[in-house]
Symmetry: C3
Subunit: 195 residues, 3 copies
């Protein structure tokens, strides 16, 4: 009885639940590195032969890449300081089979091309595969997603839209809006709060 | 000492943490089935006598349904291919009491009625109850939510808004926008990136 | 062998995984209390000497507060019924070191100042520290975030925008929109669905 309980604990929990946590944190590190453009930290989240298949249509066709070097080359080139990205993933349904695992995630992303004043937003479901390496670390072997929807629009449709933060450093400080906030609404926003 | 630790492990972890994971994955499956319109897979997330109480005001009054059949009948009828839905839930605060559990979740949803060019978006807190059946599987016994806010608007307010993906298959391919993307902004989006 | 496994289970799982769950639920309670304005319940999520450093620019400069009393005083004063807030955090990367822990979280927030018809939205990464008190409960010792971006706009840019729920009780019932929903689009939204 006692043995079976301890064994169950080791099996169900000491292994699988800890692996689920490892894989969740792997995914979160990947997403944080994208949004914060931490390319050096990011490289290690992929296996050497990892593949990606992003279902975005902003290129006119889905984007497929193979190998850690090609993937990282894409990110380093494509996401410069003028591109703001926000990736929010959750709702992981992960299954583990030894040193391999697969996972489905819901996610929403917002991409703002600040120089072009274009916003691309959408939602999708990731379908990922993970592998545990000889060093015991889990890495992404494949990541891809299928779009629920994706849409783009120009910020010119929103005449009052102003950035309060996130404007690339290359933009002239005179256009950074902390002084323009109150005038936007004719009221002192600091009085109405916003945490 | 050793016994008490192992016992604590079994109690805290082998039971509760695994149950929390089961319930999270149950909720995620439910939400994924809604957004992907997987009605056959979805039916099994509910107990036979499950109830729902959605606090949406889009019907003029909250929507209450009773029984798996009535619930599934609603989803099959209401969410056709012209309705895009995105449900993002997280921040689960789940408490377990034997074969019953309850949970609070934050969520945000976006519903796009593509034919009417209407978007309904909002946020809410779910208050759910779960039950473990004789087969050992957890199911939703009740789900409902109270709105933090809900709002609707027409896409006509955003003249530049264009779908890149997610347009229902019934829409004529000639209106699908992969060829219209560059002209939207007068620039080649592929050059400015988008992860 | 058996001892080492049970020991590993207790260490990895009975301790760390349960702590991670405790800290996640702590953070979720904090966020729910903000959005639901549950100030009495919220106070206990902070240590007595907690500090906050919110990177919002809506005040013209980041907002720094010290001590539970000052923090709660800010929330009670700043977030009245006319301010709708939605905080969605996820992607926790938490590390535990005895009775202290630290965590990084992605989050997005939407703040609607209903009287001024202003929306402030943005994304950020939290960097938090947590402590376990003598009573065994984890509390927030420090929370702060760095913005990925933050922007504000007026709802006047969206002429068709209407609240379906979330309008403060102080607003005249005659302006509450359940009867105005159909007229917004010239169609009966109840026929087109919205779960």
């Amino acid at each position: 009885m006692f043995l079976s309980r301890a064994s169950e604990c080791t099996k169900l929990v000491g292994m699988d639940l800890a692996v689920l946590e490892d894989i969740r944190q792997l995914k979160y590190r990947y997403l944080r590195c994208v949004d914060q453009k931490l390319w050096d930290e990011m490289a290690d989240v992929f296996t050497e032969n990892a593949t990606v298949d992003y279902g975005t249509r902003a290129y006119g066709k889905p984007l497929k890449l193979a190998g850690r070097d090609e993937i990282m080359g894409f990110f380093r080139t494509a996401l410069g300081p003028e591109i703001i990205t926000v990736h929010a993933a959750g709702q992981p349904e992960i299954t583990v089979d030894g040193d391999k695992a697969s996972g489905t995630w819901r996610f929403e992303d917002t991409v703002i091309a600040t120089e072009h004043r274009v916003v691309i937003a959408g939602a999708a479901y990731y379908q990922d595969r993970y592998e545990r390496g000889a060093d015991g670390a889990w890495r992404i072997a494949h990541t891809g997603y299928v779009r629920t929807y994706e849409a783009m629009m120009s910020l010119d449709d929103l005449p009052s839209f102003k950035f309060l933060a996130g404007v690339p450093k290359t933009v002239s400080p005179t256009t950074v809006p902390s002084t323009t906030v109150p005038s936007t609404t004719g009221t002192n926003v600091a009085d109405t709060a916003v945490r």
